[in-house]
């Protein structure tokens, strides 16, 4: 799982650390060359390409109606998913840590299943279950005139599936380490369940919840495999930013593809930095 866990490291005295063969400089060079070739050059190229006509050219491409609506769709479906995922993820973690019930360890294993399933396969699954030609999908359409597949609700559902582990796994270890004596003391003093939760259980969970939520949001903005299957990709209605970029690449509108890509990369990068900052702050709080 790629939870972002680096950061705080004890400061070792360099002279005392037995170095790997080839020496420190060899390793530094190898690592930095690898990261430059794999990450920095491809990222730089997209900025170089998208800013060919300056910031105003980029802005023009991004605010073109179809591109803009695709970006907005990605943002609002991800936001709705994040709200649901944060509430349900926190609840799932709470139930898994605090309660004993049959099937608990099975449930705990199922949490990680979305990490293992290719997102394209997730999309296929949702179409098989909710597709307009399937029993459940047809019934929902008939009775409530409600479409999940080939519509925005399918996008939200796919995102919920894919990002489910992020919030649960961010909150779970904090709940496990939490001292329950405070809650017990509050009960003894006559506090009610809800007020105990709000005043004692919730505060230490705010930072891990925030980083789990932001992580799932960051992951969702760029999701492609599941969405391309589920959404129907109708411009101005169910076409997300990633699917829009694919279309522009295929129709060789490089400027449009690069502009929307830059916006997506910028969003992703700021969110990743924000999550890193939150996690460092949490470590400081703990010390």
């Amino acid at each position: 799982m790629s939870a972002i866990e680096a950061g705080q490291t004890p400061e070792y005295k360099h002279t005392a650390v037995p170095s790997l063969p080839w020496g420190r400089w060899g390793l530094r060079t190898a690592a930095l060359t690898y990261l430059t070739l794999m990450l920095i050059i491809p990222l730089a190229v997209i900025f170089q390409d998208g800013l060919r006509e300056g910031l105003s050219g980029l802005w023009e491409q991004v605010t073109a109606p179809i591109a803009w609506s695709a970006l907005m769709l990605s943002l609002w479906t991800s936001a709705v998913m994040t709200v649901i995922n944060t509430v349900m993820g926190a609840l799932t973690a709470y139930v898994l840590v605090r309660y004993e019930f049959p099937g608990k360890s099975l449930l705990n294993s199922i949490i990680d299943v979305p990490l293992a399933i290719p997102t394209l396969v997730t999309g296929v699954m949702l179409v098989v279950l909710f597709g307009p030609q399937q029993a459940l999908g047809a019934w929902l359409k008939e009775e409530f005139d409600f479409s999940i597949i080939f519509a925005p609700p399918g996008i939200i559902l796919a995102l919920l599936f894919i990002t489910f582990p992020f919030v649960v796994r961010a909150v779970q270890p904090v709940l496990i380490d939490m001292d329950q004596t405070q809650e017990e003391a509050a009960t003894t003093l006559g506090a009610r369940g809800w007020s105990i939760f709000r005043r004692i259980t919730l505060p230490p969970l705010v930072l891990p919840l925030a980083s789990g939520a932001l992580l799932s949001f960051a992951r969702a903005i760029g999701e492609f495999g599941a969405i391309v299957i589920v959404a129907g990709n109708i411009p101005l209605y169910s076409q997300t930013a990633a699917v829009y970029v694919l279309g522009e690449v295929e129709s060789e509108n490089r400027l449009g593809a690069s502009a929307v890509s830059i916006v997506m990369v910028a969003i992703a990068f700021s969110l990743i930095l924000l999550v890193g900052w939150l996690q460092r702050r949490r470590r400081k709080d703990n010390q």
Partner: protein, 282 residues
């Protein structure tokens, strides 16, 4: 994932909370069942609608088998590269101090959040027909875009964080005392690396390999953009599923999806179970 921390013992706080407890458990079980298990069950049912024979027949086609074989080849190369360089990067991040370290720490997680379509497109801008490196590539007669090397590069990008992020906490927890002890007793740096550091990182490496492999198995958007998904030439397992859906060959698409899902599921969950058992034994 924190297997070392002790489980908090649950104590029912009051009698009235028994119903709250039951209600919350029910909500979570229904949510997980509906969101995760129901779609899986639907896919399994859909694939075997026409019997196991039809599924096997749909998969036992030369182009399907070659697509799966291409996926496995990409996975193996990607895992090998990331095992070597992931270890080096993790080591640098934990043991070394250099300017720009925080920035690199953030960059490592970028592939996690960048859209796979954008990844494929970046590589196209570099290696494509009108790409930046096109003059050099044509002069040397190397094809990267719409060919195997491009698909390997795309998968390398997408899977970059997994190995590093598994190894960094392991290296941090391991510390340096044992290495120092070995050095004091006169071990060479190679000996220390092979006999002390590497065995200590064993589970991080194994888990990193399985996560990388599983993520590479399922990569779709990036290899679609850089590879083009040409049947029999640049088609991977996921690209086959996409084409089969498009051509309404549902049995083939669903069966391939099950095989792919099952493969990565067994890898990831299996390793996690073994690791947990190992952790509880020690």
């Amino acid at each position: 994932m924190n297997s070392s921390t002790a489980r908090a013992v649950s104590k029912p706080i009051s009698r009235g909370s028994v119903w709250i407890k039951r209600g919350l458990i029910a909500v979570v079980v229904i949510y997980v069942g509906g969101l995760i298990l129901a779609p899986i069950a639907a896919l399994v049912a859909g694939a075997f609608e026409q019997g196991l024979g039809a599924s096997l027949k749909a998969l036992n086609q030369p182009d399907v088998l070659s697509a799966f074989w291409r996926t496995i080849q990409i996975c193996l190369i990607v895992v090998a590269v990331h095992t070597v360089f992931g270890t080096i990067v993790a080591w640098i991040m934990v043991r070394d101090r250099f300017p720009g370290r925080e920035l690199i720490n953030g960059l490592i997680d970028m592939p996690f959040a960048i859209s796979p379509v954008v990844v494929g497109y970046m590589l196209l801008l570099l290696f494509g027909r009108n790409g930046l490196l096109a003059p050099i590539l044509t002069a040397m007669d190397i094809r990267v875009a719409f060919a195997f090397p491009g698909m390997v590069l795309a998968t390398l990008f997408v899977t970059l964080p997994f190995m590093v992020r598994e190894l960094i906490p392991m290296l941090e927890a391991f510390g340096i005392q044992q290495e120092q002890a070995a050095a004091t007793m006169g071990a060479s740096s190679w000996q220390i690396f092979w006999r002390v550091t590497l065995p200590a990182l064993r589970w991080g490496l194994i888990y990193g390999v399985t996560l990388t492999f599983a993520r590479a198995l399922g990569e779709f958007g990036a290899v679609l953009v850089i590879g083009g998904g040409v049947q029999g030439r640049t088609e991977t397992a996921t690209l086959y599923i996409y084409r089969a859906l498009d051509e309404r060959q549902y049995v083939g698409a669903y069966s391939a999806a099950i095989v792919l899902g099952l493969l990565s599921l067994v890898l990831v969950i299996g390793t996690d179970l073994i690791r947990r058992r190992e952790a509880s034994r020690s």
